[in-house]
Amino acid sequence: MSTVVTPAPSSRPLLAVRSTRSRIGLARQALLQAIAVFVLLTVLFPVVWVFSLSLDPLNRSRPQGLSIIPEGATFEAYSQVIAQPTNNPIGFVDLGLNSLKIALGTSLVSVAIGVSAAYAFSRLKFRLREMLMISILAVLMLPAVATLAPLFVLLNQFQLSLPLLGEFNVRNSLLGVAMAIISGLLPFAIWNLKGYLDTIPKELEEAAAVDGATTNQTFIKIVLPLAMPALAVTAFLGFIGGWTEFYFSWQFLTKAEDQTLAMALYSMQGQFASTPWSLFSAFAIMFALPPAVVYFFAQRYITSGLAIGGVKG
């Protein structure tokens, strides 16, 4: 009876008491810890396995067994990978530069062009708005592989004879791969950024309009700074996509100097490849590390940036 009459302010300490009482007992704690540790082991197992493989000496083509630090552990696989990971005469740095060019180029272009279109879709009224948005959604539904045939055939027709560089086929170049990636990345960027812009309150822009700001001024001075988190997340996701892009590069590129990291990884892993597993593992680790480290520390930021774009789209 007295608890019912108790006025609101004292309900807080009461709740605190109750929540300490609901803490779990030791037996339950031990059981849950055991489950959590088991899950942790399954999560870490492949990572530890690849790391220990990468420490094998180069003259051992396959591992001798399961061990965290193998016998005769050495970092020579890493130095070999940096020098020349595959039969192609190209080192890790050059492979990485090719992947970096594709990743940076596609993500920056898509975000830069995409944000102005996203702004128009989110804030401006115009005829065909609905129809254009549906056309973007329809494109988004298609996986990149589904546009492989026409992009390959069409880009292949851009054969130029340049005075100094000789024959230049757009399809057989990093530029061609980048164009093919942007074809799918730009609609994604527009959609994701529009979803984020929709969640930004309009009051600031309204105030700016009252003060006589033009649409351009509002966009550059108010909307762009507010959209920075979404711009960063969209660019980062595009970057990871470009960094690990496989299907277009594998289909388009034939020159050894244009090889990317993903292409090298595939040729090292192929069914009949004689690459020692230590090389493959060292390569995989160096390939995965840059995006993994950024993703790991910016994870909360990234999932929220994407979730907003996806759910409110």
Partner: protein
């Protein structure tokens, strides 16, 4: 009071703002100017190739038409579509109905497992008073941050029959209970016989299911954790006072709050898994006998290996309609559940 007093002012403000943007021809010109760069680029490298693809799908476009100045491909009508749908293509191990059925089952089975594990582990880590919570949460994100391309190649290596980690691990465990280590030479990704006689799925399916479970549950857990933390504690407390047991609390409170958050994510996960190229391509290579091929990997093979560009284009158009159907069904599903929640 304050809010009521402010309402008229802010609506008139919005009205003026709206007029300044949506009104005369000038602002419409501005809107088109903002759209122009994106639509020029997309017109050239997105929409035009897609239209070209539809045209290609009615031709026998092949390697012979690729070189500059070569003869244009012959029009073959709907032959490519008929061949794709009736499995009449002259390529090995191609059977459209099996391909589609396997692809749907692959997505359904994966998403179901991801959801159950993701929610289960999120609930476990949300237990009040559990030690090292934050440590576990940060470690469990590891599979998400590794690019799936690399996950697939590493797991292929782990399933190697002779030196792969999985067989070594099983042999090690077998030794403890006294089994001969030579019993653990499973060819996970290439074994032809089905492991479970009455289920027509190859061992490679189960192997990749394990890999994709490793890859997929953590992100489900992140989403579920967010939803769990939004459930007000008072609900559990009042349920306790009403004498609800643990299962009743889980069913009536936890699941009710999780459903609206998890459903959109499950749909998103379904589409991602349906089109998951990397595992089927890098791990099993579609084998044995094309039985773990997905639509995306088959589409890639038609262009990359078979060089049947016309057939590949028809295949992509068919894929578009399959994905459109899936999108419409999932949208309806999402709407149906939403109204169920509100009622």
């Amino acid at each position: 009071m304050d809010a009521i007093a402010r309402t008229p002012a802010s609506t008139s403000l919005r009205g003026r703002f709206g007029r300044s943007l949506g009104g005369g021809g000038n602002s419409r010109r501005i809107a088109y100017a903002y759209l122009l760069p994106a639509f020029i680029v997309m017109g050239i490298i997105t929409f035009y190739p897609l239209i070209f693809q539809v045209w290609m799908s009615f031709t026998d476009y092949g390697l012979q038409n690729l070189r500059q100045g070569s003869a244009p491909p012959a029009t073959v009508g709907i032959k490519n579509y008929v061949d794709v749908l009736t499995s009449a293509l002259a390529i090995p191990n191609y059977f459209f109905v099996r391909l589609l059925a396997y692809n749907v089952w692959w997505a359904v089975s994966n998403v179901a497992i991801h959801l159950v594990l993701g929610v289960g582990i999120a609930v476990l880590l949300n237990t009040k008073g559990l030690w090292f919570k934050r440590f576990y949460r940060s470690m469990f994100i590891i599979p998400v941050v590794i690019p799936p391309l690399i996950v697939a190649t590493v797991w292929r290596n782990m399933y190697d029959p002779d030196s792969g980690a999985i067989n070594l691990l099983l042999a090690g465990a077998g030794k403890i209970i006294g089994l001969d280590t030579s019993a653990f030479r499973l060819d996970w990704l290439r074994q032809v016989e089905d492991p479970i006689a009455f289920i027509p799925l190859p061992l490679a399916f189960y192997a990749m299911l394990v890999t994709n479970t490793w890859l997929g549950w953590p992100l489900n857990s992140v989403v579920a954790t967010g939803a769990l933390q939004s459930i007000p504690n008072e609900l559990y407390e009042s349920a306790e006072m009403d004498g609800a047991n643990g299962w009743q609390k889980f069913r009536n409170i936890t699941l009710t709050f999780l459903r609206p958050a998890m459903l959109p994510y499950a749909i998103y996960g379904f589409v991602i898994t349906f089109n998951l190229f990397y595992l089927a391509f890098f791990m099993s290579g579609g084998g044995p006998f094309g039985r773990t091929e997905l639509l995306v990997t088959q589409a890639y093979r038609l262009v990359n290996e078979q060089r049947l560009y016309g057939v590949g284009a028809a295949f992509a158009v068919i894929m578009f309609f399959i994905l459109l159907t899936i999108t419409l069904i999932t949208n309806r599903l999402a709407k149906a559940t939403r109204s169920y929640d509100q009622s």
